[in-house]
């Protein structure tokens, strides 16, 4: 018997360690209690009977043929905005890779205000581009020519972006939106081939006008979708530090004109970023002011290489960004230091997850169990903004402690308050390639190959149609539990249905105070999720606009709750992968009395580039607020919630 003592001791030791090594999970009762606070009604986006035949893979460059399914994995996108000017962000711009059309439509259930229509594609071949080598990748809604009417930018694989400027409608009554309402215009006439997968509008230089950044994935000039081209396309130079991707193009707003021939002119400013920073393989970008000067900092999420956080040190007309990097301590893995990661950077969003009044950053990577379990990021803002002047990113790694480290093959990352309790939920768009045969072993084989040969697609394992890579992922919906950790409650919510998603666009489309969302899916139907959560909690929603109508992108609003929590949010100018939220600010107020005004502080940069701030007492509900000079009382007009 005695000879088994050490065996017994070992078994006991292993048994003691086991529970500590497990990740905390909720009991079924706890999970249903959390799920009871949420409810979403899912409806498919309408598919016109006259749509072109659906594709399920793209035609690609001959050297990419063996990985055509991999190359075809991008393109689904959704933008929510108030395009028809009815006061609600209930218009959807949907990019569907199955047709490669950019369709504008009223969100299902929001009334047939106009017939869904596709944007004019004939302009895409302007400047001699071959339409068969072009695919739209996403859109951005904004008032680019500052005439008070919402315009669009569509960005592509295979060409430079196209602006669609809304023409003023002089006909009486409610004008119907249609393809002819928008005048197409080149953003640049360079005739280059860009492969864009992120776009942002933000007042980069603080002159009061909205500038643009377009983030490209494949290197500019590639021929990814050209079946007749020769040679070999260049892939990533390695799996952890690929710095040979597409350029980050920055445009400063110059001038604009409205009228029947609306125009806007931007000037591209090159060499603002070093080549190392400007050439990551970008899949998502986000902008938000982190140091209180109302100049937006930038987060660039890159595939196969480090993400970049850039400190905005610009002055009007002169763009200047400094690279910020985190500092490593004894307990932090290498990639969990901001700016030092090799993870896959596929989605990003700003939001304050811990109620300290500081914006944190949520980033999607690949964190697929039994596939490649790296880690998503939740960069927690430490508030040490002084360090930013020294090039240090004041952020620490928080996703593991908060339960947000793993989910699946994740693209869009979103933080939003769906039950108005004042605590943000976290959600992601997941799934890569849906097929019949699991090709994770082959993808892992790619992970064993030498970094020096990865750039040649002929050395890649075959990922043709039929290959499956995380094609059965569900989009996780994380809610913060009583234990302080986030838990994915998708199964309890009844939303655990596999779909291959890319973009998530969030807006309160029916102005009932409950945020709804659209999931744009790759090679499949996309869906609108109407929020039908119990309406117990109060909220305050702000549409912050400049005096002549455009959204005050970059304006920051703050609310202090009686329990000491500070809430902060900004008017977003297109943060994320391929989903675009409406330019509204939304705060859940929890058990706040719905009749009692709440104090809201607002800071913004006016159209002359001057920083302004004001304090308003607002009753819970939606408000459209025209931001004027501080000496004039800001006007608040309440929009009635839908019944």
């Amino acid at each position: 018997m005695k000879k088994y003592f050490s065996c017994l001791a070992a078994i006991i030791l292993v048994g003691i360690c086991y529970p500590f090594a497990k990740v905390p999970v909720l009991t079924t009762a706890e999970e249903s209690a959390l799920a009871a606070r949420f409810s979403f009604k899912k409806s498919p986006l309408p598919e016109g009977p006259d749509h072109p035949p659906y594709k399920n893979v793209r035609k690609v460059h001959p050297s990419l043929e063996r990985i055509s399914a991999w190359v075809s994995s991008l393109g689904a996108a959704a933008t929510l905005a108030d395009l028809d000017g009815d006061g609600r962000p209930n218009d959807l711009v949907h990019v569907d890779p199955r047709t490669d059309l950019v369709t504008m439509l009223p969100v299902p259930g929001s009334g047939d205000r106009y017939k869904p229509f596709a944007l004019d594609t004939s302009f895409w071949s302007h400047n001699g581009y071959d339409l068969s080598t072009i695919a739209p990748m996403g859109s951005l809604a904004g008032d680019f020519n500052e005439d008070g009417l919402l315009d669009l930018i569509v960005y592509f694989w295979g060409r430079t972006p196209v602006l669609y400027l809304r023409k003023p409608d002089n006909s009486p009554g409610s004008p119907q939106l249609s393809a002819t309402t928008f005048a197409p215009l080149e953003l640049v006439d360079s005739n280059e081939r860009w492969y864009s997968n992120a776009a942002l509008q933000a007042d980069l230089d603080g002159d009061g006008h909205l500038d643009l950044i377009i983030g490209n994935y494949f290197h500019d000039g590639a021929r990814v979708l050209d079946t007749k081209a020769g040679g070999t396309e260049v892939m990533h130079t390695g799996k952890s530090k690929a710095l040979n991707g597409g350029y980050k193009h920055m445009f400063l707003w110059q001038s604009a004109a409205s009228g029947t021939v609306p125009t806007v002119r931007y000037q591209e400013i090159k060499h603002v970023l070093s080549e190392e920073v400007a050439r990551g393989w970008t899949l998502a970008m986000a902008a938000a002011d982190l140091d209180g000067d109302l100049l937006p900092e930038l987060y660039i999420a890159n595939d196969f290489g480090p993400d970049r956080l850039l400190h905005n040190r610009s002055t009007p007309g002169d763009l200047k960004f400094a690279l910020l990097e985190g500092t490593r301590d004894f307990l932090t893995p290498k990639s969990c230091v901001l700016g030092h990661d090799s993870f896959k950077g596929m989605g990003v969003d700003f939001g304050d997850v811990n109620g300290d009044g500081l914006l944190d950053i949520y980033v999607s990577n690949i964190a697929t169990k039994f596939g490649l379990t790296e880690s998503h990021f939740l960069w927690l803002n430490t508030g040490e903004i002084g360090k930013m002047k020294e090039g240090i990113a004041p952020f620490i790694h928080g996703s593991e402690k908060l339960g947000l480290a793993r989910s699946g093959f994740a693209w869009e990352a979103r933080l939003a308050d769906f039950d108005n309790d004042g605590v943000l939920e976290a959600m992601q768009a997941c799934g890569f390639i849906k097929g019949k045969i699991n090709r994770w072993p082959e993808l892992q084989a790619l992970g064993t190959s030498n970094d020096q040969i990865v750039q040649n697609p002929r050395f890649w394992p075959s990922f043709r149609p039929g290959a499956d890579l995380s094609g059965r992922d569900c989009n996780p919906f994380f809610v913060r539990g009583a234990d302080g950790r986030y838990h994915d409650i998708t199964p309890a919510l009844g939303l655990a249905e596999p779909m291959v998603s890319r973009g998530i666009a969030i807006a309160d489309v029916d102005a009932d105070g409950r945020l709804d969302f659209v999931a744009a899916n790759q090679w499949g139907p996309s869906y609108f999720f109407k929020n039908e959560a119990p309406k117990t909690n109060a909220f305050v929603g702000l549409r912050l606009i400049h005096p002549n109508g455009p959204s005050a992108i970059g304006a920051v609003a703050r609310v202090n709750l009686p329990d000491g929590r500070k809430l902060v949010a900004q008017v977003d100018g297109g943060s994320g992968h391929s989903g675009r939220r409406s330019p509204d600010v939304h705060f859940g107020l929890g058990s706040w009395d719905k009749a009692k005004p709440v104090r809201v502080e607002i800071a913004w940069r006016d159209r002359n580039g001057k920083t302004q701030q004001t304090m308003l007492q607002l009753t819970p509900g939606w408000h459209t607020i025209q931001l004027r000079k501080t000496d004039v009382i800001a006007q608040a007009g309440q929009v009635q919630p839908a019944q």
Binding site: S6, I11, F20, G238, R328, P333, C336, N450, D451
Partner: protein, 186 residues
């Protein structure tokens, strides 16, 4: 008078030569230590710096504890006391699984899955044994691999470190030079 500890592994070395066993163990230990030190300072290992330290310290502590339990039960001498030599020669069997678990697993910043893997690696040597004759028994599994494999299967949240996680900082010609250095028969 306590009996001396018997090392079954010796039965599998030519002429039961203890020197050959020590040479093999120290050879491997030196390479593992070098690879880990270079990995965390130059090559760009993905795991936190706490990972190898925790893993190795856990391995040493658990090995000592289990040896102490076994020695008490069998009224034999401890393997790691008596002389500096016997202490030092106790270490390779701790360092190898410690470094191996710390390199091969990626549990993000969490250390407990790693501690579990190391405890199981070391523990597997006394839990899973087979008779090899003359009343002696010998552990069956490669300790590190057993600990790593079992941890991956038991905890889907824990992942293996993909190969490119070992050389994230090196680029260019070094991408060829490092594997070349390792493929030379030393």
């Amino acid at each position: 008078m306590k009996t001396k500890a018997f090392n079954t592994t010796l039965l599998f070395y030519p002429r039961n030569n203890p020197k050959l066993r020590l040479f093999a163990l120290w050879y491997f230990t030196t390479l593992m230590t070098l690879w880990n030190v270079l990995g965390h300072t130059v090559l760009g290992f993905e795991q936190s710096w706490a990972t190898p330290v925790t893993a190795v310290l856990t391995a040493i502590a658990v090995s000592m504890l289990l040896d102490w339990v076994d020695a008490r039960a069998k009224d034999r001498e401890l393997r790691f006391t008596g002389s500096l030599g016997s202490f030092l020669n106790f270490l390779p069997a701790c360092l190898i699984p410690g470094f191996a678990c710390g390199m091969l697993l990626y549990p993000n910043e969490r250390l407990w899955p790693l501690i579990f893997a190391v405890v199981l690696s070391i523990g597997s040597k006394v839990i899973l044994r087979a008779p090899v004759g003359n009343g002696h028994t010998q552990h069956i599994f490669n300790p590190s691999n057993f600990g790593v494999a079992a941890t991956l299967l038991l905890f889907p949240d824990v992942s293996f470190a993909p190969p490119y996680h070992f050389t994230e900082n090196i680029t260019g010609l070094w991408d060829w030079a490092v594997p070349l250095i390792f493929s030379v028969k030393w």
